[in-house]
C-alpha cells in the first residue's frame, strides 16, 4: 500500500491504471444501472463473451493476412453491435426464446474466438488477457477511447433520461404515451454493447461483468431514484478499482481479479447486512 502511494506519483502506467478505473466507473455507473433495473445483465454477459469471437477474428486477420490496421477493438465493435441487435430484436418480438438465443450467441462467439486465436501464430497465450485484461498495460489511446465513451454515454444518458426511465419501468405504458419503445430499447442495448467493447479491450471481459453488476447491486440497496443509483454506483465502482489496484500492487496480485474479489466481498456483505436488518424488523 505504502509502495503504491509512492510509485503512483512516479510511474505513468500506474497513473493510467488509476485513471482507467475512474473513467470506467462513469460508464459502468450509468449503463450498469440501466442494465440492472431493466434486468438485462444476462444480455450484457452474453455480448461481453461473444465479443471474444470478434477480437479473435480481427487478430487472425491482422496476423495471417498482414493487415496491421485491423485491431481487436474493431472486431469487438462489429460483433457486439451485431449481437446486441439480434438479442434486442429477439427479446422484442419473440420473448419466450430470449434466453436461449443469448446463450447461443455467448457460446458460439467464445468458441469462434478460441478457434481464431488457436489459428493465429504466437498469440494463444493472450486468451487470458482478453478474459481478465490487464489494467496495468493501458495506453494513452485507450484512455482517450474511454473518455470518448463516457462522453457519449453522459450525453445520451442525460438527454433521454426520462425516456429510458419510462421504458425500463413500464414499456407498455411508455408505448401508449407515444414513445418509440423499440428505438430506446435498441439504443440502450447498443450503448451497453459499446461499453462492453471498450471496457473489455481495456480491463477484460470478466471485469466488465463485475463492474456492470456488483457496484450497482450494492447501490440498488440504498437508492430511491435512478440517478442516485447511477452516482452511487459510479462512486463505488471507482472505489473498488482504486482499492483493487492499491491493494494488489505491493504483493503483486493480478489487479483485475483483486478488484473483482473486493467488489464481490462488498456485495455479499451489504446484501447480507440488508437481509439481516430487514428480517430483524419484520
Amino acid at each position: 500500500m505504502q509502495q503504491f502511494i509512492t510509485d503512483v506519483q512516479i510511474y505513468p502506467f500506474l497513473q493510467h491504471a488509476l485513471l482507467t478505473g475512474i473513467l470506467a466507473s462513469v460508464a459502468c455507473g450509468i449503463i450498469g444501472t440501466y442494465v440492472v433495473v431493466r434486468r438485462i445483465s444476462y444480455i450484457a454477459d452474453g455480448i461481453a463473451h461473444a465479443v471474444l469471437g470478434g477480437m479473435g477474428a480481427a487478430l487472425y486477420i491482422q496476423k495471417v493476412h498482414q493487415m496491421p490496421g485491423v485491431l481487436p477493438i474493431h472486431g469487438a465493435i462489429v460483433t457486439a453491435i451485431f449481437a446486441a441487435i439480434i438479442i434486442g430484436l429477439v427479446s422484442l418480438w419473440a420473448k419466450q426464446r430470449e434466453d436461449n438465443v443469448i446463450s447461443a450467441i455467448w457460446a458460439v462467439g467464445m468458441a469462434a474466438g478460441i478457434i481464431f486465436i488457436s489459428r493465429t501464430p504466437g498469440y494463444s497465450e493472450d486468451l487470458m488477457s482478453y478474459l481478465f485484461g490487464n489494467i496495468l498495460l493501458v495506453s494513452s489511446t485507450d484512455l482517450w477511447t474511454l473518455a470518448g465513451l463516457d462522453f457519449v454515454i453522459l450525453v445520451i444518458g442525460v438527454l433521454f433520461y426520462n425516456q429510458f426511465l419510462a421504458v425500463c419501468f413500464d414499456d407498455e405504458f411508455a408505448r401508449l404515451r407515444g414513445l418509440n419503445v423499440e428505438f430506446f430499447y435498441l439504443l440502450l442495448l447498443c450503448l451497453t454493447a459499446l461499453t462492453v467493447v471498450v471496457l473489455s479491450t481495456v480491463v477484460g471481459i470478466v471485469m466488465v461483468i463485475a463492474l456492470l453488476t456488483l457496484p450497482i447491486g450494492i447501490a440498488a440497496l440504498y437508492s430511491a431514484t435512478l440517478w442516485r443509483m447511477m452516482i452511487l454506483s459510479a462512486i463505488l465502482c471507482a472505489a473498488f478499482t482504486t482499492s483493487g489496484l492499491a491493494l494488489s500492487y505491493g504483493p503483486d496480485y493480478p489487479a483485475g481479479a483483486a478488484t473483482i474479489i473486493i467488489a464481490g466481498a462488498a456485495y455479499l456483505a451489504t446484501t447480507t447486512l440488508k437481509w439481516v436488518s430487514t428480517r430483524g424488523r419484520s
Binding site: 413500464d170 405504458f173 431514484t225
Partner: protein, 254 residues
C-alpha cells in the same frame, strides 16, 4: 356524426385469438361518452384482453375498433390507462413523482425534461388519489393499494377523456375502496370510465353499465342485471342480494 354523439368506444364484429385460441368472439360494443362501465367476468375470460385491444396494444384477428371516432393508436394521447401493478418491478428505483410524471411523456419533443406545467398537473393528480404527501417516497416502499392509486394518478396525469382501469380495487381495504369510488364518481362527471373489476356488486351505486366478458361480450345497463345474467357470466350459480336503493346489489357464490 358530431363530436358529442361519437361513442367513446365502438367495437364491431371483433374477434381476438392468442396463437389460435379464441379469447374474444364476435364482440359488439358501443360505449357513449360520459358512461361509467364496469367490465366483469371470470378470470381468463378476456377482460384485460378487451382493454388492450381498445388501447391498440393487441391487434384484433378481425373486426373494427374505434376510440372517440378514430383508431386506437391515434386516440392514445386522449386515453389514460392504469395496468395491474403486479406486472411492474416492485424494486424499481423511482419516486412516486417519477412514476406519475410518466403520464406526461410524449407531450414535448423527443428529448428531455418535464415543464413546470407537467409538474403541476402531476401534483394535482397525486393530491386527488391522496398520495401527494408521499411524492418523494420510493415506489418500492409502497403497499399494493398505494401502488394502485399511484398508477391511477399516472393515468390522470395524461389528462385523458377516457380512463381505462384494470382492477383498480384489487388489494384495497373497505375504506380505501369507498374513497376510490368517490374519486371515480367525481371524475366521471367529466370523463368516460371503463373499469375491469372481478366483483361487480359493490360498485353498482356509481356504475352506469356492465360489460360481461367470457369470450363473448354482453353489455347491460345496471338496472337490467338479474340473477340469470350473473349466472350466465360466471357459469356457477350466484346469489344476488338486493339492498335498499335502485340497482344496488352484490353477488356471492351459493
Amino acid at each position: 356524426m358530431d363530436e358529442q354523439n361519437t361513442p367513446a368506444v365502438f367495437v364491431k364484429d371483433l374477434w381476438f385469438a392468442y396463437n389460435g385460441y379464441p379469447a374474444l368472439e364476435n364482440v359488439n360494443l358501443s360505449i357513449p361518452q360520459g358512461d361509467f362501465v364496469s367490465v366483469v367476468g371470470p378470470n381468463g375470460g378476456g377482460k384485460t384482453t378487451l382493454l388492450k385491444v381498445i388501447l391498440g396494444l393487441l391487434r384484433p384477428t378481425r373486426g373494427e375498433v374505434r376510440v372517440m371516432g378514430t383508431t386506437p393508436e391515434q386516440a392514445r394521447p386522449r386515453i389514460g390507462y392504469m395496468p395491474q401493478h403486479t406486472q411492474l418491478d416492485p424494486l424499481f428505483p423511482a419516486t412516486l413523482m417519477d412514476v406519475a410524471l410518466m403520464g406526461r411523456l410524449g407531450r414535448r419533443g423527443l428529448f428531455g425534461g418535464y415543464s413546470r406545467e407537467d409538474k403541476n398537473v402531476v401534483s394535482e393528480a397525486l393530491k386527488q388519489v391522496g398520495l401527494y404527501e408521499l411524492r418523494k417516497k420510493s415506489f418500492s416502499a409502497l403497499s399494493g393499494g398505494q401502488r394502485q392509486r399511484l398508477l391511477i394518478a399516472r393515468a390522470l396525469a395524461c389528462e385523458p377523456e377516457l380512463l381505462l382501469l384494470d382492477e383498480p380495487a384489487a388489494n384495497l381495504d373497505a375504506v380505501m375502496e369507498t374513497d376510490l369510488y368517490e374519486l371515480l364518481r367525481r371524475l366521471n362527471e367529466r370523463l368516460t370510465i371503463m373499469m375491469v373489476s372481478h366483483d361487480l356488486g359493490f360498485v353498482s351505486r356509481i356504475i352506469k353499465s356492465v360489460i360481461c366478458v367470457k369470450r363473448k361480450v354482453l353489455m347491460h345497463p345496471t338496472t337490467e342485471i338479474t340473477g340469470e345474467i350473473i349466472n350466465d357470466i360466471y357459469g356457477t350459480p350466484m346469489r344476488m342480494i338486493r339492498h335498499n336503493g335502485e340497482g344496488d346489489f352484490s353477488c356471492s357464490n351459493l
